[in-house]
């Protein structure tokens, strides 16, 4: 067993509809950078969704380049899916702005200085049952992670709570997905090694139910999701 456990989270987690321009203002006002390198999925460039970021950078008076290999900058912004997050350089200010509710790649978030969750740019056209299932799946698997702790459990359970009892609004699902993803990233080490313990009982107790009932319930969502495909 590890001698020490940690609860890693992104340096700054910012969220709310419309938070993107507000958070990015920190580039000028807090970090005082003058150059930002933006990495974006090609789709973002094509349909102009990248404007949500570039327009803010322009207004802030920053120099920036999109998908350029030669542009040196103090800040790197990954705008898009997990491929862009993984492409962030090791040094300098690292900002992730997800545009898809991807189930993979969350580890990259933990190394970022700032993660911005803004439903204006973060969409998921995955069918609702599949979204719900993915959240529950992530949360469930986090309970078995080698680095699972009460902290990761707290967030995994909250994610489940939101799926079970929350409304199906974009905002609720966005946060449920993030909570589940962050719990997983913190609980499961990089090589996805699972631990010997399973915190399912604790999670079930936290939800005032039994482990069996909880598993059943989660299963139900899986079936619905499958049925939907």
């Amino acid at each position: 067993m590890a001698d020490v456990l940690t609860f890693p989270v992104p340096g700054k987690l910012y969220f709310k509809k419309g938070s993107l321009p507000v958070a990015l203002r920190e580039l000028r006002d807090v970090y005082r950078v003058s150059r930002a390198a933006v990495t974006a999925d090609e789709a973002m460039r094509h349909d102009g969704r990248i404007d949500a970021v570039t327009r803010v950078l322009q207004d802030l008076g920053l120099s920036y380049a999109v998908n350029s290999t030669s542009f040196t900058a103090e800040a790197a912004i990954a705008f898009g899916s997990h491929e862009t997050w993984d492409a962030l350089p090791e040094t300098g200010l690292r900002i992730i702005i997800p545009t898809r509710i991807d189930t993979i790649g969350a580890k990259a978030w933990l190394g970022a200085d700032m993660v911005i969750l803004d439903e204006d740019v973060l969409h998921d056209d995955t069918p609702l049952p599949v979204q719900r299932w993915q959240i529950l799946d992530n949360a469930r698997r986090s309970l078995k992670g080698e680095n699972a702790s009460d902290y990761t459990l707290a967030w995994a359970v909250q994610a489940m709570r939101l799926v079970f009892d929350g409304d199906d609004s974009a905002e609720t699902l966005l946060h449920a997905a993030s909570l589940a993803r962050l719990a997983y990233a913190a609980a499961v080490p990089g090589d996805a090694r699972m631990g010997t313990e399973d915190l399912l009982d604790d999670a079930a107790a936290a939800l005032c139910t039994t482990a069996h009932a909880l598993e059943q319930r989660i299963c139900g969502y899986a079936v619905t999701a499958l049925g939907d495909r």
Binding site: V4, V9, G11, K16, G18, A52, H175, C208
Partner: protein, 874 residues
């Protein structure tokens, strides 16, 4: 046509009655025009500008002939400018409907016309001003009624008619532009009163009438520009530009130069160049004659306005050659009695000599104050490469809204001819100095009503915690290894309280530091309520030791003291009162907290479960001289690392276990119902509550139970993370002050107040709700019930669940030995009642109050204190 309602179409507006009819027509036309699209309006605007431009020569000729003033060829330029430059400036400007849209911020701006503009047209620039104002009206979907000057009515009306006809032909409603054919004072006043806004161009008397009419007015003022020629100026450029500017339309543009103030070193050169280029230096006798002719009873003689020198001289009683361009009078006095100091609006210049740049500015100022022209225009001729500071000095001094550098001031003042970011206009605002409401060149924006549509948006929220949070029984030495292996720290300053130090709690740390070869020093002079004094002492010790790492070990006091010392060490210049200033929104606060971590890395290690201070951006310090507590709150204070090692909690005595354990519970509860709660803080807060219910009694009764201690440690840090981001509420506000005034331990104070505060917050019809965009309606009851259910409470209704939850909390308090009332803790009744008013007000003022779901009145806080004191309503 005997029907009284059906009137003859009005062909001439020469009476109040006909004016009324015309105004009604304009209004009707405008109401229709107000529905036109940007596209329609722009087509009309363009057509009108073209038509006006085509007529520039005939209109110029008409103006000179009718008024007997000015020069046809220069008026042609004015007409051309009024059409062309105005069209160009606004061709792409949005003036109709939605002019700005920001879907992200949820703001939309909509432009609507004002209605009917009353345009008072001067005799000096009749056709150009008429074209200018009519074009602006067309571009902004306004109607316009023109009140011409009697001496220029025919040419003014001709210009207006050309614009109207072109506009109607291009699709504008008929009758959108109107005018008074036979102007009179009565009708001008009526026009001003009936219109929705006045564009008043004329003398101060007329402008004053406009402002007094009761209708919003945009006026202008008299000009009296001085051209200051500094000794560094390019004399030839300066003098020729001034002559060119002054002779333009015989000096009738209000922004034109009225005086030259030349530095003595270049005075002769200026004089010589003036003469060389055709100006006439008046002798003393001629100057007097001009003085007598220029001002009649203190007012400008209309006969000399817009005339050439040959005409003026004749009027004054002497002769000059026909080709003289400007009459120049060399004078010294800047008092109101010197006629040459006044606005001349003709081809006369005053010439002053100044001994220095300062003196030149003095004279220019005096002229404006004594002889009028404040707010209008001034100009400076200077070497703009090598004497740049003079430009700013001049600009600072001159109370004019146009300050032109190395530019002819008449053609320069109207904008867009000599500087292309300067709005082209023939109505030049003079600011408050000139009695105007506008201090810039008037344009379309002044003729629009802008509506702003703002949709509700929620504030960005966040989740922040120290970079590294380490936990587990025995993790302390392992976590500390990072100091050497990862962080490469060499000198540690260890802050703790004397009890912990004397009882060997620091040993595990200092031993490890020694092992790693890291130098350290211990500061253990921390009191239970850390004071500013001890923090200053600690900071001083830090300054001499120069650590690159600070470790704060202990309860809230030691960690808070450590944070404050850290601030004082890194920023001795920071002002405490500024740092402690209250804010509504932490991201919008007035004070910018200085950046921390530039000298030392901060590690917080709690020894109780607890205040959660190891993961919060807060620190509270007491000013020992006044007893005042200063709460500091800023994410710069967030420790870089938190180490939560159960080994350090094992020997906490019962009282401490109970008080700090319940403090953590209140943290979790307040964070959960806070207006700033988010899913991230909710998850942690609820888990913390569950862990505390399950483990606090055991930790209290059997402090050796490792599992219980570990869970309590986790719960405390979790609750800390929750309130570090969601903040607290009025329970903590009240507990802070109760502790300050009556010395109850923080956790106990919270425990005594909690249930009353919960009942207070849970009201479904609170007197006042907390103000925060995401908090849409009072729902604290619902939120408490979510906590209750998560903690195993069941029931049929929210009210039932809530009551059972309160009972569960009361039961927990009893289990851990918390008494029932404040009185039970030996707080004297008289002392309590004496302090009550001030304490209630102070609690209200506490930074924590803002996040409470229910915004408290001071009287309500007072009532809660009383209830908590007596245990019943009093």
């Amino acid at each position: 046509m005997s029907n009284a309602k059906q009137k003859e179409p009005v062909t001439i507006v020469d009476s109040v009655e006909t004016l009324e009819i015309r105004l009604a027509e304009i209004r009707k036309a405008q109401e229709q025009y107000a529905t036109y699209t940007q596209e329609q309006v722009d087509a009309i605007f363009r057509a009108a500008a073209i038509a006006a431009n085509h007529a520039r020569i005939p209109l110029a000729k008409m103006a000179v002939e009718e008024t007997g003033m000015g020069i046809v060829e220069d008026k042609v330029i004015k007409n051309n400018y009024a059409a062309e430059h105005i069209y160009n400036a606004y061709r792409n400007v949005k003036t109709c409907g939605v002019i700005e849209e920001d879907p992200v911020y949820g703001v939309t701006k909509i432009a609507e016309p004002i209605g009917v503009i009353a345009a008072v047209i001067p005799t000096t620039n009749p056709t150009s001003t008429a074209i200018f104002k009519c074009l602006l009206a067309l571009k902004t979907r306004n109607g316009i009624i023109i009140s011409p000057h009697p001496r220029a009515k025919a040419s003014t009306i001709a210009a207006a008619k050309i614009v109207l006809d072109a506009a109607v032909k291009a699709g504008a409603p008929a009758g959108l532009i109107g005018w008074v054919d036979v102007p009179s004072l009565e009708m001008t006043n009526m026009v001003m009163k009936e219109a929705d806004i006045i564009l008043a161009t004329g003398g101060p008397g007329m402008v004053k009438a406009a402002y007094s009419s009761g209708t919003p007015a945009i006026g202008v003022g008299a000009g009296n520009a001085s051209a200051v020629i500094d000794k560094s100026a390019d004399i030839i450029n300066a003098v020729n530009s001034i002559i060119h500017s002054k002779t333009f339309d015989n000096g009738m543009i209000c922004a034109t130069e009225q005086t030259i103030i030349a530095h003595k070193d270049v005075y002769d050169a200026v004089r010589d160049e003036l003469v060389k280029r055709g100006c006439y230096m008046l002798n003393d006798e001629e100057k007097d004659k001009i003085r007598r002719t220029m001002l009649i009873n203190g007012a400008l003689n209309a006969k000399i306005v817009g005339q050439r020198p040959v005409t003026i001289a004749k009027l004054a009683g002497f002769e000059v050659p026909e080709d003289v361009k400007v009459l120049v009078g060399e004078v010294e006095s800047t008092s109101v009695d010197e006629a040459f100091a006044h606005e001349k609006l003709t081809t006369i210049l005053a010439l002053y000599k100044a001994d220095s740049f300062e003196e030149a500015m003095d004279k220019a100022e005096q002229i404006l104050v004594n002889a009028g022209g404040l707010g209008h225009t001034s100009s400076l001729w200077v070497d703009e490469v090598n004497e740049r500071e003079k430009i700013m000095t001049f600009a600072d001094r001159m109370k004019t809204c146009r300050i032109l550098v190395n530019t002819p001031s008449s053609l320069g003042g109207i904008g867009d001819l000599y500087n292309f970011k300067f709005t082209p206009s023939l109505t030049l605002g003079c600011g408050s100095w000139g009695g105007n409401s506008v201090s810039e060149n008037v344009g379309v924006k002044h003729l629009l009503n802008i509506k702003t549509v703002a949709e509700r948006r929620e504030n960005m929220l966040w989740f922040r915690t120290p970079d590294k949070v380490y936990f587990k029984k025995g993790c302390l030495p392992v976590a500390l290894s990072e100091l050497r292996d990862v962080l490469h720290k060499k000198r540690v300053f260890l802050v703790t309280d004397s009890f912990l130090y004397k009882n060997g709690f620091t040993k595990v740390i200092t031993d490890k530091l020694t092992d790693m070869g890291i130098a350290y020093t211990v500061f253990s002079d921390v009191e239970p309520d850390p004071t500013l004094l001890s923090a200053q002492k600690g900071a001083e010790a830090m300054r001499s030791f120069e650590p690159d790492c600070v470790i704060a070990l202990g309860g809230g006091s030691a960690m808070d003291a450590g944070k404050i010392m850290w601030v004082l060490y890194e920023h001795p210049e920071a002002d405490f009162l500024d740092m402690a200033m209250r804010f509504i929104d932490i991201r919008k606060r007035v004070y910018t907290f200085p950046e921390m971590g530039q000298k030392a890395y901060f590690i917080a290690i709690p020894t109780s479960s607890g205040t959660g201070s190891e993961v919060t951006p807060f620190a509270v310090i007491t000013d020992q001289t006044t007893g005042h507590k200063y709460p500091l709150a800023d994410y710069q204070l967030l420790p870089n690392m938190a180490i939560i090692d159960t080994d350090l909690m094992m020997s906490a005595p019962k009282g401490l276990t109970a008080a700090s354990g319940f403090d953590a519970m209140v943290h979790a509860l307040e964070a959960y119902v806070s207006v700033m709660a988010t899913d991230y803080t909710d998850g942690l807060a609820i888990r913390a509550m569950q862990l505390i219910f399950a483990n606090l009694p055991t930790a209290y009764n059997d402090g050796t139970n490792v599992a219980a201690r570990e869970k309590m440690a986790t719960a405390s840090t979790m609750a800390g993370m929750a309130f570090a981001n969601a903040f607290l509420g009025v329970c903590h506000s009240m507990a802070h002050k109760l502790g300050a005034y009556h010395h109850l331990p923080h956790g106990v104070a919270n425990a005594l107040l909690l249930t009353d505060v919960m009942r207070y917050n849970a009201s479904e019809k609170p007197r006042k709700m907390g103000t925060f965009s995401q908090y849409k309606f009072p729902h604290a009851l619902e939120r408490y019930c979510e906590c209750a259910k998560a903690c195993g409470v069941t029931g049929e209704t929210n009210e039932e669940i809530f009551e059972k939850f309160l009972a569960k909390l009361e039961a927990l308090k009893e289990t851990i030995g918390i008494k029932k009332t404040i009185r039970d803790y030996g707080v004297d009744e008289k002392a309590f009642l004496d302090s009550l008013d001030q304490m209630s007000e102070d609690a209200f003022d506490d930074q924590c109050t803002g996040a409470n779901p229910r915004y408290p009145l001071i009287s309500e806080i007072r009532a809660m204190y009383l209830k908590a004191y007596y245990g019943e309503e009093k």
